[in-house]
């Protein structure tokens, strides 16, 4: 999970305050798996971002980020999808507020399959069809579309950090892929 401190977020919490909170509270996140679907609701491709981590490693990543104070989960989903895929991505936010799973990223590795060295993040994970044009934004180097078969490959999951490969697999399983 990557996160940028944007202008709008700084209205809610100064960076040093967020750092303090991160050492004391679980932080609420969303994770989104962007997909293309056909008219039968079948997934035709799965989008993954290419990012450079703080340590200069290149990883594949889901769309993810923090839910802000007084922000609806749905609004956070839309905001992060737009932030990463651009304003023309036209995501179809799921009808149901229930995520396909809850990923618990712990600062200590091994407690759960999910790990975030910066914080204890609890993330609501959704599969989100996007219908428009996607362009990687901000700190994403690239957006790559994979076939459902490719997206199930363990070699691809190995390029993902923090357990997101498993999360991708769980998301694909939840939609029958």
């Amino acid at each position: 999970m990557t996160q940028t401190t944007s202008q709008s977020e700084s209205n809610w919490l100064a960076p040093e305050e967020l750092d303090a909170a991160r050492e004391r509270l679980p932080i609420l996140y969303i994770d989104a798996i962007p997909v293309r679907v056909d008219v039968h609701g079948q997934i035709t491709s799965v989008g993954l971002l290419l990012r450079a981590t703080g340590e200069g490693r290149i990883t594949r990543a889901l769309v993810s980020g923090r839910v802000l104070y007084q922000e609806r989960v749905r609004a956070a989903l839309l905001r992060h999808l737009e932030k990463d895929l651009g304003p023309l991505a036209l995501p179809r936010v799921p009808l149901s507020p229930a995520p396909f799973t809850v990923a618990e990223y712990f600062p200590t590795p091994g407690v759960t399959p999910f790990h975030d060295p910066r914080q204890h993040a609890v993330s609501l994970a959704y599969v989100v069809p996007v219908e428009g044009d996607c362009e990687p934004q901000q700190d994403a180097l690239e957006l790559t579309w994979f076939s459902p078969a490719e997206a199930r490959e363990e070699s691809l999951h190995a390029e993902m950090a923090g357990g997101q490969g498993l999360l991708l697999q769980q998301g694909l399983a939840s939609v029958g892929c």
Copy 2:
């Protein structure tokens, strides 16, 4: 649940054969709740059909019908939505094959909240956004759009047969309405 024996269905099972099967096997159905949604994935209206039953009673009804031999559940959903709402309805079939509930319509009333005097039907129920123009077709007299608040009213559920009022309520609850 209403059903018409269309030309295409007769390729699979003659009416008298279907009648015999209906006395011996659970018959697989789908139920769909057509909805309009806004850009945040929030439901803005819920569509119900107005139908005349065999006994001349007028009822509100969901889109529902049988799954045919060698037909995918998704294809059955699309076929029945198109049959009842017209070819321009543009339904967004759900990504996940898992229904929000399974409605067990028993021929004997009272076994479950769902009842179908003709058969034991087991129905996979979905909430389905439609994006195009809907026109009631065939034996549907009318398609009426209700606000989510109206769709939760018990007086409306009382106009629905076979327990579909409860099914509507369960579907709305599943999407946080």
Copy 3:
């Protein structure tokens, strides 16, 4: 949603720090609907707590509370169920981490159906069978078991605060009640 600042929680966040965080971040909660089930997995009764609110009002309430730093959601569920129902309640924590819904309690009424004047709480909601002896603990005055039919009554929901009546209804709908 009620909450007590117990000894163990103070290890994580001092009350004044929690107050500050509550004005800046969504706080992660769980809500649990305790139920009794028969051998077929059908709900036979639904448990609600009777509580006195800070303002001296008496309300019916679900089991709910905060997820702590470095605490698993499952552990938080168990902890709050034990805190409210006693150590012999024997709750069966759900297998799936996915809640039946996510209740977004806003400090401003009307943004969502859920309201918490103290904070923006995002709550993962579960239906949890309990098999042992339940005894209300701490600030709960009483635990009352209702039949599923009674638990669906709007008059009962009117005795619940913050939108928990709706949450109860959504939970019952999710298990086919």
Copy 4:
């Protein structure tokens, strides 16, 4: 998916009638993944049956079977679990009637990931904790318990027929394994 024509089933449909129906209608099935869970609701082991197929091949299999006329899905789950694991298995039937997925077994291979040469079976799939003593019954040669890690191995899935390896994987993903 294997199935035995037991005494009780013959009350509903004679074998030759069932054969005829199987060529004309989708047949409703259940699939169950028996699991052992700890007090936190985490899966500690997954049970698979060892069976000899009609062609003399040995395969690993889930508990599965037909839903009968006028039988509740829950009753079918209990009946098949008892039939395969014995009367002392003490399965905890899920509260929710919604399966984690719907497996569509087609008689033609390749239409879906699931295949049953005898019929078009549509199966509601559940993960079911069992708390008692399990003894393989009838045509099951053995019941073997695997760790969650073993149960995710592709080599194990390769020993399963009809796509049940994928179904097992989807079931484990649905509970966060």
